[in-house]
Each structure stands twice: as C-alpha cells, then as structure tokens.
C-alpha cells in the first residue's frame, strides 16, 4: 500500500506488541554477575496470581500470540505452573527462560505434557569454570541436569541461551556442538550494561576484535542459531545479519516487570524508559497505545552524531540500553560501535553521571572470582548492598 519496508512500518509501532518479555518475579536463587534485572530478592509488590492471570487475559484480547517469561528465576513462583496453564488455555504461546534449578524429573514431565511451550536454559560457558565464574558455583551442573531431565522426558526441542562475553567468545563452536548433542537450538545474545551488567561490563564485554569474530561466526555458522536480533550493531561490518535488524523497544516489544510496570525493554529498567503501570486505569493496553514514552519511540529517529557515518543505515546507531548505561547520549554511537566511534565516549563519560538502575533486588553476595571481586564497580556494589 504505502510501499514502505516492513522495518519502517514496524518502527512506527503496532496496535499491540508482536512479542513481549514478562518478568514474573525479581526473586532468584542465583546471583549472576551480569543480571540485567538486578534480581535476587522478591519485591513485596509482586503481582498476585489473579493479577497475573488478568495480564494474560488482556494479552489474549490484544492477540499477543507469544510471550517470553523470565525474572529473576520464574520457576521460583509457587504459581508458576498455574500461570503457564492459564497462558496455554488462552492460546498464548510461552517461552520461559530458566537457570534450570527447578526443572526436576517430575517437572520436566509436566512441562513436556504442555502445548505451545518453549524452554530456554541459560548457560554462559561450555564448562563449569567459564560458566560458573559468571553464574555462580554449581550453576553449570544445574543447567546440564535440567537439559538431561528435559531430554529424558521427551520434551522435544528446547533452547540454550548464551550471553556472549569476552570469556566465552572462543566457545561458540563448542556451544553449537553442545546444543546439537541435545537436539537443542542454540541462541546467543548480546551482553548489555544493564542491571548488574553495568558493574562487570568493562571486564566482560567483547573486545572490538571479538565483535568481528562474533559477526564472522554468525555469518558463517549462524543459519540455525537464534540471536534475538541483538547483534544488529554489528551490521556495519558488512552484509546484514538475519532478523528485523531494528530496536523493537516500545514499537513491537516491551517489558512487563514483576510489579506491573511497563518498560521499553528488559534492558532499560530505569525511570527514563518506564512507560507506565498496567495497574493504572486502562491497563496494559492503554500504556502500550498511549504512553508518552512509547509514542516518542515510535517517532522517526534522527541520526544525530552518527549522521556523518555511512554505516548508520546498517547499524541504526546500535542499542539504546548500551548507550544509556555507559553514559553515551542516545543519539550518539553505540559503545561497541564497530568503527570505534563509541569507545572514546565510554572512556570519557563521567562515572558519577552514568545512570544506575531504578531498582536493585540483588542479595548480598560473595563474588568468588578474584578478578571480578577486585573491580572498582564490584567493590562499590558490595558497599551499596
């Protein structure tokens, strides 16, 4: 009709999300050093079971076909299966992300019996040393055990989701082999400096050279590998990666957090990216359709400081969250801009002015990796907690 590309039309937003993330709890039994939601302790304002079901009813009415449930650790909620079953009964497909702790043999069988269900096991290393340095002692074994139970229960294909860091970039082939051995689908996603990720960003985020490595690997081996479209900032290297290659926040996706607040995406849990609360009059629908934040995100974006760079069409200026939490202006380059335009800005950002997450549900924790424990940011976190 209008001749616009699909990407252009989606950037202007739709009347309902295509897909969204719903973090159902801030409680978690782990304390991953890069947790995007700074999870750990349950928030006393957490939505009740009835409120959760009402959210699903509203999503059904909006014809949101598929949601991603996470947290914290979603299976910690006592009503976890009740929520899943309510989604299934309302024809809402669910993918949930889990560290696997609560996937027992019995739960695996229960999950295998459900329809429209995808499971995503989080894993950040192909061996315990690499994984547990980030996710905590024993977490690798837990994840593998969960995968084994799913296999024994004939769950079918599940996903293994990896946050790519400086320390696991060389393991991409091994991750693929691991996924293949379970008949699972590999997913690799970008680390953002969100939540606790801000504290470990300097140590964990891939180097410029490693970014090239990720791009090359995806172009060569990534045909059946999911990415959540999280690497479109790497498109400036050349041919675009598969996917929509655009920031969906506030346009086709958003986050519902455990207390019913609606944010542009899970990587920007901060007041500046909060669209509203679904507990207000008009519920989630009104927030999605009418909030000032989302309406402004659906306006055409300006290239800003990137206008002189020929790569902007490919990289779209990168990720809002990555810029926001490293202190770079939102119309500036991505901190991991492949041409290097972002690196200097990160270095020169005034640390005291860099935004901090609006909430922190972290539990006091001992960081058992000597290098990370000694970083300045980690020490500051320990003092805050």
């Amino acid at each position: 009709m209008s001749g616009k590309t699909l990407a252009t039309q989606l950037k202007a937003g739709l009347d309902a999300p295509i897909c969204l993330t719903w973090e159902i709890t801030y409680a978690c039994n782990l304390q991953c050093v890069h947790c995007l939601s700074s999870s750990g302790t349950r928030d006393p304002r957490e939505l009740s079971t009835d409120q959760a079901k009402a959210v699903l009813d509203e999503l059904r009415d909006l014809q949101v076909f598929y949601i991603n449930i996470g947290g914290g650790e979603p299976m910690i909620r006592k009503d976890f299966f009740e929520i899943l079953e309510h989604a299934e009964a309302n024809d809402i497909g669910v993918k949930f992300s889990t560290n696997g702790t609560y996937i027992t043999a019995e739960n695996a069988r229960r999950l295998a019996a459900m329809n429209y269900l995808d499971i995503q096991i989080s894993l950040d290393g192909v061996d315990a040393a690499t994984n547990d340095a980030v996710r905590g002692k024993g977490s690798y074994a837990t994840a593998i055990a969960a995968m084994n139970y799913l296999r024994e229960a004939n769950f079918g294909q599940f996903k293994i989701s990896v946050v790519v860091t400086r320390h696991n970039v060389d393991q991409l082939d091994a991750f693929k082999a691991l996924a293949d051995s379970y008949g699972a689908q590999l997913r690799i996603t970008r680390l953002r400096p969100s939540g606790r990720g801000a504290d470990t960003w300097d140590e964990l985020h891939p180097t410029q050279q490693q970014q090239r490595q990720i791009y090359d690997w995806l172009m060569k081996h990534g045909e059946n590998v999911l990415t959540g479209d999280s690497f479109f900032h790497l498109n400036a290297f050349g041919e675009s990666l598969p996917g929509l290659n655009l920031c969906g926040a506030g346009r086709v996706v958003c986050l519902i957090d455990p207390i019913g607040d609606v944010y542009a995406c899970p990587f920007v849990i901060h007041d500046q990216f909060k669209a509203g609360s679904l507990l207000s009059d008009g519920g989630f629908t009104k927030v999605w359709k009418e909030s000032d934040l989302f309406l402004s995100l659906r306006e055409p974006e300006s290239e800003g400081a990137c206008s002189a760079c020929g790569s902007y069409d490919a990289c779209q200026g990168g990720c809002m969250a990555a810029k926001f939490f490293t202190g770079i202006p939102l119309d500036g380059p991505d901190p991991e801009c492949v041409t290097g335009h972002g690196e200097d800005l990160v270095k020169s950002a005034t640390v005291s002015l860099i935004p901090k997450p609006s909430m922190d549900h972290s539990r006091p924790v001992k960081i058992n990796t000597p290098r990370l424990a000694s970083s300045k940011e980690a020490v500051q976190r320990m003092e805050r907690v």
Binding site: G3, K4, T5, L6, A7, T8, I18, C19, L20, T21, Y66, N68, G70, K95, S97, Q120, S161, R187, E223, L226, T227, G228, D229, S230, F232, N235, E239, S240, P242, G243, L244, N245, L246, C247, G248, A249, V252, V253, C254, L255, A264, C265, P266, F267, D313, A314, Q316, C319
Partner: protein, 68 residues
Amino acid sequence: MASKTALPTLTLAREGPFEYCWQVMEPTTTAQASEIVQDTDSVKQTVHQDVTELLVEEISIDGMCGVY
C-alpha cells in the same frame, strides 16, 4: 537459505533514499517490469519478470530485539 518455495526473509536493513523497486507497488498501476528502475547499489534482489509485489514477509518469532 532462500529457495524457490521458501519465504523471502527480511535481510536488508538499508533504507536509503531509494525504495526497492519490488516493494513500491500501487495495485492499480500499469507499470511493467521494464519501467521499474533498479536501485543500482543493491546486489541482493531477485527480480522476477512478472512478479512485482512482495505481499508476504516472514520474520522469526525470535527476530525482534528487546526480548529475552
């Protein structure tokens, strides 16, 4: 990845000053394939002589940035 019967997936992120010819279609035009000017920068298009509208486009449910 693309085969004759597979859906064309959106692999082009570029939105330059040119609209890609096979996406700019008003249904009532009498434009023939030969009248359509190719974007010379693009090397990736497949242009069929008698197919002038891209009516469907598949995206992956995982292909949107901003979800887990």
